[in-house]
């Protein structure tokens, strides 16, 4: 193999690849998880066939990782013109090739359009224009399965700089100066971790990537590992050099098969190139990396549980009051950082601490990737400077709410985080502000909710999730979350009791004070934050058996207004349980005893009639029927 024996070898290769990339047209097709599910494989096949048919040999097709605009996948960008096509189907490929690839014209109905205006170029689309994409920048241009592509974009130059121009101490100083804080949720200063591991007495040290991202709706780390695995590996290499580790591990959850595949390939290619192994780039630094595939436990994202799992034990948190930097993996000093944290490292070393901290706030520097999902128009992965406001993320980038609904809250931080209501939309998204609002940054999940979301039900959802994911080792987490779950399930069914809220608050104290690990101690956050901002909703559920969001099935009823119903029969035909009776051209009626509250009748009733209504409490129906 053509191993790179020096920094000059690396630079020569970079120039060769970059030269090659300049020539001709490149079609960059998103094959991330979202676009993949939307059919980008078929688009790729159609594209390859079309190019072959037309004999266009100087056109390159790259299958890249996630571009971010998952709402509108599959996404295809034509370089160098940067024309970005959304929701591409195989049927449209011949047109794209003939118009754009061969003639430089735009297929207008496939580009972003807003208020009659066309946004053909990728960077002009408001979803992208309001972002600051540093970590994700290369996701649109890199083939994650080819190390040369990464090197062509300047990859591993930061490693070379660290190895040949900086001492380990200077690397740590640069990270400290940059103010990098852990992206996994805690926001702990990265340099402090590294320094502690470096200064630990034991000469055998480890560096580990935490790729056990598992929050519902979150896929930032997944997209980095899938779309740019070398950036994480390069960060790990630099970290290993800084702390003095000769061995590292990627812990990646088994639910991310493509991330595992791409990380494995990245490691193998780096070994072939001599970027892993002995005397990397001809320096005295030697380093090896292994991959540990998770076995399907959310709690393994907790640091001590993750190390237990790598050691071959059950992934359960341990009782340990010794810092991991003193005694971590196999009792050796260990630095564990999240995927996104590692991916930031090469950027800092290559471009400097000042460049890094030019984005963000004083205490939270750099950018952060969020997965923006829920009832927002443009769902996807977004990267913004720390300190961007929730409003900028949800409205400028996310395009506001779907179907003209009203914003109600955004859930940040996953099951350990909380719900932030509309009055705090102008809050800055950084570690400390979110914590002050009773939520947290977490790894970056952002679930946007509108008026149709019941906040009690949202809390119930997250608590039920945690109930399944608690390892069960410590008493407060196992029993506390389980009890919380049964209380919340009762409340959403209209069986809440007056003292339930007191009990929920007591369990929250129990969880936060007495749990063994972070999963338990933060488990009450979804409940506490919704109680803080939406207590009225809990009270309505308990005392009036009313769900004002009309979401909790046990508390709602559907009603057909006799005066508006023309007896068209649509609802009667669609009702899956035959609960609607009536003859043609006369008012229909719902048999409440049979109704399963699926809402099909409301959906199919033509808007010009608007005869079906949903109401809560269900008892209010009785009054209506009396009239």
């Amino acid at each position: 193999m053509n191993k790179l024996a020096s920094a000059q070898d690396l630079e020569n290769l970079r120039q060769r690849v970059a030269e090659g990339n300049k020539a001709g047209v490149t079609l960059s097709l998103c094959c991330g998880t979202g676009c993949g599910a939307n059919g980008s494989k078929k688009v790729f096949d159609a594209l390859s066939a079309e190019l072959a048919k037309r004999g266009l040999r100087n056109v390159t097709v790259k299958r890249t990782g996630c571009h971010g605009f998952c709402e509108r996948g599959p996404i295809l960008i034509v370089f160098p013109s940067e024309i970005c096509y959304l929701s591409v189907t195989p049927e449209r490929i011949p047109e794209i090739v003939s118009k754009t690839v061969e003639n430089g014209l735009v297929v207008e109905d496939l580009v972003w359009r807003d208020g009659g205006k066309l946004f053909a170029r990728h960077s002009e689309i408001p979803f992208y224009a309001h972002q600051k994409r540093r970590l994700l920048a290369n996701n649109t241009v890199l083939d994650p399965t080819d190390i040369n592509d990464y090197i062509g974009c300047g990859g591993y130059a930061a490693l070379a700089r660290a190895l040949f121009s900086l001492t380990p101490q200077q690397v740590i100083e640069e990270i400290r100066k940059a103010g990098l804080r852990g992206r996994g949720g805690g926001g702990f200063p990265t340099a402090t971790k590294w320094e502690a591991t470096r200064s630990a007495a034991d000469p055998v040290k480890y560096v580990v990537v935490n790729g056990d991202e598992g929050d519902p709706g979150a896929y930032m780390d997944r997209s980095l590992l899938e779309g740019n695995p070398h950036s994480v590996l390069e960060g790990l290499l630099i970290g290993a050099y800084a702390v003095g580790a000769a061995q590292g591990y990627f812990y990646i959850r088994q639910e991310y098969p493509l991330a595992l595949e791409n990380a494995r390939r990245a490691i193998a290619q780096a070994e072939e190139k001599g970027l892993l192994g002995d005397n990397i780039l001809g320096s005295p630094f030697s380093f090896r990396v292994g991959i540990h595939q998770g076995a399907g436990a959310f709690v393994s994202g907790e640091s001590s549980a993750l190390l237990s799992a790598i050691e071959g034990h059950v992934g359960e948190p341990r009782l340990k009051y010794v810092r991991m930097s003193e005694s971590g993996l196999r009792g050796k000093p260990t630095t564990l950082n999240n995927v996104e944290t590692w991916a930031n490292v090469p950027l800092i070393v290559a471009k400097g601490a000042d460049w890094f901290s030019s984005a963000g706030t004083a205490a939270s520097t750099g950018t952060k990737i969020f997965s923006l999902v829920g009832k927002v128009r443009n769902t996807g992965l977004v990267e913004v400077p720390m300190g961007a406001t929730l409003r900028q993320i949800v409205f400028d980038i996310g395009g506001g709410m779907q179907n003209g609904k009203t914003f109600k809250a955004v859930q940040t931080g996953g099951p350990s985080g909380g719900c932030i209501p509309a009055q705090h939309l102008d809050a800055k998204v950084d570690f400390d502000t979110l914590a002050g609002l009773g939520s947290m940054m977490g790894s970056g999940g952002m679930i946007v909710m509108d008026d149709d979301s019941c906040m009690v039900d949202v809390a119930r959802y997250f608590v039920d999730f945690l109930k399944e994911e608690s390892c069960g080792k410590c008493l407060p987490c196992r029993e506390g979350i389980s009890e919380m779950s049964s209380i919340l399930n009762r409340i959403v069914k209209g069986q809440g009791k007056p003292d339930d809220l007191d009990f929920l608050e007591d369990i929250a104290v129990l969880l936060s004070e007495a749990s063994l690990c972070g999963l338990g101690s933060s488990a009450a956050n979804p409940v506490m934050s919704t109680l803080r901002y939406f207590r009225k909703e809990y009270e309505e559920h308990i005392f009036q058996k009313r769900c004002s969001a009309l979401a909790c099935k046990s508390l709602i009823a559907f009603h057909i207004a006799a005066a508006k119903c023309t007896g068209c029969g649509l609802c009667r035909k669609q009702c899956p349980v035959c609960a609607i009776g009536g003859v043609a051209k006369s008012a229909h009626r719902i048999d409440q005893a049979l109704c399963i509250k699926c809402g099909v009748c409301l959906e199919v009733c033509p808007s010009k009639f608007g005869a079906v209504t949903k109401m809560s409490p269900a008892s209010s129906l009785a009054n209506l029927q009396k009239q």
Partner: protein, 195 residues
């Protein structure tokens, strides 16, 4: 052995390096409640009864005293209001399941726990893990272990084939069970093994 000085409940205490806060507190005669702790076993930290408050300047945190090793200059409160509040909430879960355990009932009285609002029955096993850990750590037998996660966690005999040569002669796990119910579970499981 290095001597370490720390403060527990306002009293200065000398402790040996490698001792836990629990050891040091008990040497002072302080009655720190425990359930999953055993002198021959490694700290497990699952029952959370032994929580104490560690004060570091303006900051304070609750830690499991059974697994926190003494350090010079630590300031520990074993029965502060914050400790009492947490302990009371832990005892509320335990006391309903541990009728026979006089220690737990005594602690429940001490912290004013007289009823439990919890609906889930622990079915006489509070999953303290004493039996499992004793079998692993002291007997080196690994005949019993935990299976399942969260509320599905339970203690199971694994593998059953070791019953004749190991378990029948040992049965130490029966004596160590704080619920006193283990022997009857054993009785129910054993005939199935023998047949």
């Amino acid at each position: 052995m290095n001597s370490i000085t720390l403060t527990i409940d306002g009293k200065s205490v000398e402790a040996r390096s490698g001792e836990t806060i629990l050891d040091a507190a008990r040497s002072l005669g302080i009655d720190v409640p425990t359930l999953c702790h055993h002198k021959d076993l490694l700290p497990h930290g699952s029952c959370r009864l032994c929580l104490v408050e560690l004060k570091q300047g303006a900051r304070s945190q609750l830690v499991a005293s059974c697994g926190y090793y003494v350090k010079n200059g630590l300031t520990v409160e074993t029965d502060s209001p914050r400790v009492q509040r947490a302990r009371k909430l832990v005892l509320e879960i335990l006391f309903a399941s541990l009728h026979e355990n006089t220690d737990i009932q005594r602690y429940a009285r001490r912290y004013g726990v007289s009823r439990s609002r919890y609906k889930r029955s622990l079915e006489y096993c509070v999953l303290c893990g004493l039996c499992v850990r004793y079998c692993q750590e002291v007997k080196k037998a690994d005949c019993i272990g935990f299976v399942g996660r969260g509320v599905h966690r339970e203690v199971a005999w694994i593998p059953l084939s070791r019953y004749d040569d190991t378990c029948k002669k040992c049965m130490d796990c029966q004596a160590i069970c704080p619920t006193g119910v283990f022997p009857s579970n054993w009785g129910m499981a054993s005939p199935a093994v023998e047949s």
